[in-house]
Amino acid sequence: MPVRAWRFKSSHPHSRLGFSRFLREYWGGLESLDRGTTCTSHETTTESVDALVFRVAVAVLAISLPAWILLSLLVVLGRWRYERTRHERASTALGSRVAERLVRRVSGNPRTEWGRWRRVAALSRLERARHPAVPRLVRRVLADADPRVATAAIRMLGDIGNEWAIDLLITAMRSGKGQRSRVAAELERLAPAPGPKLVPLLYDWSPAVRFWGATLLERYSDLAESDLIMLTWDSDPNVRAAAVETLGSRRGAAVETATLARLDDSEWFVRVHAARAVGHVCGAAAASSITRLLSDTRWWVRTAAKDALRGLGTEAVPSLLAVLVHEDQFARNGAAEVLQDVGFVDFLALDDPASSLLERIYAAGGERYREAVEARVDRAPEMGVRAA
């Protein structure tokens, strides 16, 4: 190594030294500076501070430069390795030694978070390869104390999707291992297979399980109707809300009675679900019951009532017109908004712009409402030309 090439040209006190010797002197401490007996104390201080800063800088450089080189190599080599092994990793086939290693990894009891996730990754590879040990191993991961890791096992059960996987998912739903909404998403993905197995969930002691049981039954219109009607009287409001929402996809007199009864529930979010469900179940016949909710004390109930009335289309108009003179401003505004959204106001404005009914609607909606209607009506001929 030609150290002479590194000689300094500056006026630094050590500039005439070879670089390696120069460093050695600094690393050796400040004693080399103290050797100069003719220095004043100020000069000594100056040189020692300079030397200290220099030593620190060299030390930092000695660590950071190789670190930068190493990390840069890691980036390049990491990417190169990824691209080289991408197809290999995507392949489902596993060699026996690799499979053994992965089984060992999943069977272990990792203590760190990183170790637990490596276990999930290993199980995932085994699952893709349809390894026979997966049913045993997935139970171990499902029992992990970290709910996120358990949720990863739930995802795998959804991918497996056979009878024992469904049973395990339902067990997980009951026990609360992992995230219940994720269990529900996987069970719904596997519909219609889990159907009858969901009914017992309606009788679980845990309200959370009853909630998810009632929610999941929405896809099965011929299952557990009377059980769901019974749950609309459950002590837990979340369960009542789920039951009434699921009943919203069904028909029949008993369902109508059950959903209508929940429009007066003491919990606002049950009324939200009931408003939407009644719209579906009873149709226009329930319009007057739903319009009543336009003056509910809770904002989200009024919003749900508007949604339900929109869903009824022009059939809701007679009930809405009755609300235009309601004492509650929110109710009047809501009625005007729905009349706009179902197209009634625009029709009226085009057909009979001078009608007193239109003025009543404008009065309920306010000045901005009138302006919006007029702007839309002005655009109407233009849109007609475009359509033509």
Binding site: S10, H12, V75, E113, A121, A336, R368
Partner: protein, 464 residues
């Protein structure tokens, strides 16, 4: 020992201390990145995207003078791969043709919806809806600033989670799914989520390419901003997220639970910029009340935002960022070193104080003292040169680690571009940092003068 020596030694101690803090944060961030990567790779996004149990989100887009990009970015938000979301664009009294561009692109028609006024904002002039996209709402309102526009959007939002974004940002189709993944797992605890994003002159071009073939904008100024973003996320924010003192949900992509925003009164219009202040406020309230919560930062690259392509524009942007940091950290000074605020009080706010608020002063002081010391012959130029080299390579090593973790997470960019970025890293300290130092000094001075202006930078030029 002269005063100059003392100043130099203080700056040296500061430098070593902050370097040690950054290295420590990088190590913690590395652990978090590795865990998140494993977690994300075991996720099944298809099921999430198809499930009705995935929580709906309202995407809020405040727009001021975004005529050139608004139609395209709005479309990219409408086409996000998510089971149920609405997009609420607020034209915040733009003086250009932002509203006209939206009306034309989406054939909007005016309508009236009656909404609660939970969050304060300036008068809304009109609402618009679209027949093709029923989940699009446009609010036209009197100008009041970004916070004001976000409050207006919050009043219209219907869903439990809101995602506040910038109008000049292009998103990955899976951005919301990735962002909401953790919120869906634990909606009772996770009240805020943000994720990693990058910058480019023309983000639409960067995002048009599939992962693995994306190009980094290698214009030096853009490349250094790209590296700056990487460092911010992978060397800092992932670590903050792990320690639950995530103090900045950036305005370009911040998911919040709506009821949390209601509790804290929405975005504040008293600050230059809204994002950091809101995050501080949420932490302050939740910790004061002793509630269990989490604000997390994911490591997925979800979006590319438009970055300034000239030094003048960059200085204007970063000066504002510095001002808002100063304003916020000063406003919440009761949290500094306060045990009541747990990791936020003991780690997060002191970190901000030390590395963001006081950094420009220390950096300037160090430069002046070293310059003076060399001029007076108290320091040798070679010492200065070695010191600069040392800082440059510390900086480069930290940046290289950020590139490594970003690539490990997303595998988005071409190998060639990664190599070029790595070569850029040692020069960052001498090429890019002086610009940032100047911006921060200007920002700090602006803060001291009480400047609250926005200084929005001009959009980059695009072909017609």
């Amino acid at each position: 020992m002269t005063a100059l020596h003392v100043v130099v030694l203080i700056c040296l101690v500061y430098l070593l201390f902050t370097t040690a803090v950054y290295v420590m944060l990088t190590v913690i961030g590395a652990v978090e990145s590795l865990v998140r990567r494993q977690e994300s790779s075991s996720e099944d996004y298809e099921t999430l995207a198809a499930s009705r149990f995935t929580i709906p989100v309202s995407v809020l887009v405040p727009a001021y003078n975004e005529e050139r990009v608004i139609a395209a970015t709005t479309r990219s938000m409408l086409e996000l791969d998510y089971p149920e979301h609405e997009v609420i664009v607020v034209n915040d009294g733009s003086s250009d043709g932002t509203l006209a561009a939206l009306v034309e692109a989406f054939d909007l028609e005016p309508y009236q919806a009656f909404v609660r006024r939970v969050f304060p904002h300036n008068e809304a002039r009109a609402l618009y809806r679209c027949a093709e996209y029923p989940n699009l709402v446009v609010v036209d309102k009197v100008n009041g600033g970004k916070a004001d526009a976000l409050n207006a959007a919050l009043n219209v939002a219907r869903y439990r989670y809101v995602c506040c974004v910038d109008a000049d940002t292009w998103f990955d189709r899976e951005a919301l799914l990735k962002g909401m993944r953790l919120a869906v797992q634990d909606p009772a605890r996770v009240i805020g989520v943000t994720s990693h994003l990058t910058t480019a002159r023309k983000p639409e071009q960067a995002m048009a390419m599939p992962h693995g073939r994306r190009r980094v904008d290698l214009h030096p100024l853009m490349a250094y901003q790209h590296l700056d973003f990487l460092r911010a996320f992978f060397n800092n924010r992932t670590a903050w997220s792990r320690g639950n003192y995530m103090l900045c949900s950036p305005g370009a992509f911040a998911i919040w639970r709506r009821d949390v925003l209601e509790e804290v009164g929405g975005y504040s219009r008293q600050f230059t910029c809204e994002d950091i202040e809101l995050t501080f406020r949420v932490h302050e309230k939740y910790l004061r009340e002793g509630r269990d919560y989490a604000i997390v930062c994911l490591t997925d690259n979800v979006a590319t935002t438009e970055g300034p392509d000239t030094v003048v524009k960059l200085v204007s942007q970063r000066e504002r960022w510095q001002r808002v940091i100063d304003e916020t950290v000063w406003h919440y000074r009761r949290m500094w070193f306060n045990r009541k605020y747990k990791s936020v009080g003991l780690v997060g706010t002191p970190f901000y104080l030390l590395t963001e608020v006081l950094a420009p002063a220390f950096e300037l002081l160090g430069l002046v003292a070293l310059g003076g010391a060399i001029a007076l012959g108290l320091f040798q130029p070679v010492t200065f040169a070695v010191m600069v080299a040392a800082i440059a390579f510390v900086n480069a090593a930290l940046t290289a680690s950020a590139i490594y973790f970003e690539d490990m997470q997303s595998r988005s960019y071409r190998k060639r571009d990664l190599a070029v970025l790595l070569l850029y890293t040692p020069l960052d300290f001498v090429v890019y940092r002086p610009i940032i130092l100047w911006s921060r000094l200007k920002g700090s001075w602006g803060f001291l003068r009480g400047d609250k202006s926005w200084h929005k930078f001009e959009r980059n030029v695009r072909a017609a």
